[in-house]
């Protein structure tokens, strides 16, 4: 899907700048090829990948990631939550140069963590939001 921005009251299509593989590896309904993600969807998926990557998960890049699954085993204190929020925003800013104005919110509830990340795509859509919940399974 092509992104649009409003310019002088008109919707203007943006040239497809970003194109990435879909890590879910869903097949294209017609061609049967691996599905792709483009533009804001590609960036959204990249942000999500960074947030859900734990430290030491990517080979030879120990500090890459938001470490959100690692946080599930941390103590539930306000200070911890603040620190984690900052840490996550910093990771996104460091490893995803296509976004700016990054802000994260956490909601800790019933052994789960609701994460919402707000960001704007540089030279693209503003006020994007990605939300997901992570649960402990053991």
């Amino acid at each position: 899907m092509v992104d649009y921005v409003v310019n002088k009251g008109k919707n203007v299509a943006i040239k497809e700048a970003y194109k990435d593989l879909d890590l879910f590896f869903t097949a294209h309904p017609i061609t049967g090829d691996v599905a792709t993600k483009s533009d804001s969807d590609a960036v959204r998926r990249a942000v999500r990948n960074i947030v859900l990557t734990n430290y030491y998960e990517r080979p030879f890049k120990p500090s890459l990631g938001g470490n959100v699954r690692g946080l599930l085993f941390e103590l539930d204190t306000d200070r911890q939550v603040r620190r984690a929020r900052k840490q996550m925003a910093k990771a996104i800013m460091t490893f995803e140069p296509r976004v700016e104005n990054v802000r994260c919110t956490f909601r800790v509830e019933d052994n789960s963590l609701d994460v919402t990340v707000y960001y704007s795509i540089k030279n693209g859509l503003n006020n994007q939001e990605i939300q997901f919940t992570v649960n402990r399974t053991r």
């Binding site: 700048a17 990435d20 593989l21 960074i50 990517r58 490893f95």
Partner: protein
């Protein structure tokens, strides 16, 4: 720059380089453009692929390296590669001493004297020695039957081996193909291992196979090798190369566990475990502990395996002898080999091997016989190996150092100690082997550099060599070669004070009272004298010849009855002509650590105590 798929670089091994190569490759396509963003899904796949490639490349590299003896790093692989060449690395070796023990006042509780059978000393009887402040346990390597004189029992020539005896038992199971029996201890002296097999109630002793050409279907032999974790494992013949074992045969292996530290040099032992309840013993050590060695190192295996392969288990060239001697005597510090035709005088049909052990000057007679007998099995029919003691020419050092006390916090005594240890280190670094040369200027340079406060040194040297005469009732002549020219600036030099020769004392036939000595008259004559107070009473003014140009001392036939030195030797100390000393064939030069004299003097000019050269003491270059 974008690249075509055919141009992708596949030679890099590092993760980062592989990642860069893959990204460069992806620049050549338009379908996926996010490969350069770390969060993108494509970057995840690129990292994964690079990681897999990196691990694969590393594994391939290691595997390829470990396939070859030269590049292998892991011990088990080095051992395995050496095995391909037919080379078995030597195991740890226990330090061994030979002693005679006398048990006194041996009387049973009922007052009778025990029989010789009662007094047999079993294998593993323990002894203790204290050497350089630490205690070490030794044990007898065999069972010994004593000789007796009333209540005194004497055990002559007992082998005391450092370490602890252990025993492992295995049962042979023919359901298991290619059985190997791993000993339960890592530090095993393979040369002291005994293997017995009980088959149908009959016990037989098996021996270690060393030469495949002598083995047939009935040879009772076992084979050993080092396994992956460094333990010794045994296996037996298959019915063709050695007799095969039967199901249920019981294998008993007795061996000694070698200590971590070798007590080479220990010569005072006390009995720990009683023999038939008796411990009132006195022990005389005939050969101090020697021969302790670690298992062959990786570097040593790499070095020897190729030499071993070249020699093909036969002794033909000099290097064959060198390689084999080091195999039979791993504790060798230096080995020199020369053919009889190069000997002085030539002795055709012989090969001479001079061997210096690590922690001693000479091999014991037992060790010489062991090495010689082993060599005899491999050498050519017409050539006989002769193991001779390395002729050790000791260099006696006397040095006076001048130092500036304002540049150091060390005292004169501490500086002297530091200088002494520097000289010893010089000995270790430069004079530990045959073909060595003592370079005087190098030593003085090292002494000057020992501490920044040392300004200069005056270092004088003397040479000392032992003559090992035969004490007998018949007159015998001797020669002693120092291998270096001796100091003789003019004929008759120092005639009145004994020339340049000083010897230790000895007694001669016909005079059991006076202790005699040798000196020279500066004209090439060796003289024999004894001391009356401080006056030399000459008994023979032509007792021999001193050749100052070659350093050869010839002693005319003489009856020697005893020597002052306890090892029945006479020390000859002489002044060399030059300051650089060379070692000729079979000679080792060595700085005598016990004879290093260091005097530290304050340099009065540098310290400001005097000026204009007034009050500055110099040291004579001929003083000692």
């Amino acid at each position: 720059m974008a690249v075509n798929s055919s141009q992708i670089n596949i030679t890099d091994l590092d993760f980062d380089n592989i990642t860069d190569n893959l990204k460069n490759y992806l620049k050549g396509q338009e379908i996926f453009r996010d490969y350069n963003f770390e969060g993108s899904s494509l970057a995840v796949l690129v990292d994964l692929l690079a990681y897999a490639s990196h691990i694969g490349a590393i594994n391939t590299n290691i595997a390829a390296s470990e396939l070859f003896l030269d590049s292998a790093q892991i011990r088990k692989n080095v051992v395995s590669r050496a095995k391909d060449l037919g080379f078995t690395p030597s195991s740890e070796k226990a330090s061994t001493a030979i002693a005679t023990m006398t048990l006194k006042n041996c009387r049973s509780a009922d007052g009778t004297i025990p029989t010789l059978t009662d007094m047999i000393m079993p294998r593993g009887t323990t002894f203790r020695t204290t050497y350089e402040g630490s205690n070490y346990e030794f044990a007898t390597a065999a069972t010994y039957t004593p000789t007796s004189d009333s209540t005194t029992f004497t055990y002559a020539g007992i082998d005391l081996v450092q370490g602890t005896f252990a025993q492992d038992q295995f049962v042979f199971d023919n359901q298991i193909s290619n059985s190997k029996f791993v000993l339960s201890n890592a530090r095993v002296d393979k040369t002291r291992m005994t293997v017995n097999v009980n088959s149908g109630g009959i016990t037989s002793t098996y021996s270690l196979s060393t030469d495949i050409s002598t083995i047939n279907t009935t040879s009772k032999v076992y084979y050993t090798q080092e396994n992956e974790v460094g333990f010794t494992e045994l296996y037996f013949g298959d019915g063709t190369l050695g007799v095969g074992l039967l199901d249920g045969d019981i294998i008993t292996v007795e061996y000694i566990i070698v200590d971590d530290l070798h007590a080479d040099g220990a010569n005072k032992f006390t009995q720990i475990s009683a023999v038939n309840g008796f411990t009132d013993s006195s022990i005389i050590t005939t050969t101090a502990a020697t021969g302790g060695a670690e298992k062959e190192s990786i570097e040593s295996i790499k070095f020897k395996a190729t030499k071993f392969y070249t020699s093909q288990n036969r002794l033909v060239t000099l290097n064959d002898y060198k390689a084999k001697v080091q195999e039979y005597y791993p504790n060798a510090d230096a080995v020199a080999v020369w053919g009889g035709e190069d000997n002085d005088p030539p002795q055709y049909g012989k090969v001479f091997i001079a061997l210096k052990p690590n922690n001693a000057d000479y091999l014991s007679d037992t060790e010489k016989t062991m090495v010689k007998n082993n060599l005899k099995k491999l050498n050519m029919l017409t050539v006989r190996p002769e193991i001779i003691d390395a002729d050790i020419v000791k260099i006696l050092i006397s040095t006076t150092i001048k130092y500036n006390p304002t540049l150091t916090t060390l005292t004169a005594g501490e500086l002297a100690t530091l200088t002494k240890s520097t000289i010893n280190q010089f000995d270790t670094d430069f004079l530990n082997g045959f073909d060595a040369i003592f370079r005087h200027s190098n030593l003085t340079k090292v002494i000057d550099a020992a501490d920044s406060s040392i300004l200069s040194n005056t270092t004088n040297i003397r040479l000392r060599k032992k003559l090992k005469p035969t004490l007998s009732a018949n007159p015998l002549g001797y020669t002693l070669s120092l291998g270096n020219a001796l100091y003789n600036p003019h004929s008759g030099h120092n005639d009145m004070a004994g020339g340049i020769t000083v010897t230790s004392g000895f007694k001669v036939g016909g005079d059991s009272v006076n202790t005699h000595y040798f000196d020279d008259d500066g004209k090439g004559n060796l003289r024999r004298y004894y001391l009356s107070g401080s006056t030399r009473i000459y008994k023979d003014n032509a007792a021999g010849v001193v050749d100052y140009s070659t350093g050869l001392v010839t002693i005319n036939a003489i009856i020697l009855t005893s020597t002052v030195n306890t090892d029945t030797s006479i020390d000859f100390t002489v002044i060399p002509s030059g300051n650089d000393i060379v070692a000729e064939r079979g000679n080792l030069i060595d700085i005598s650590s016990d004879d290093i004299k260091v005097t530290a003097e304050v340099d009065t000019i540098a310290s400001g105590e005097s000026s204009a050269g007034v009050g500055f003491n110099t040291t004579s270059t001929s003083s000692y």
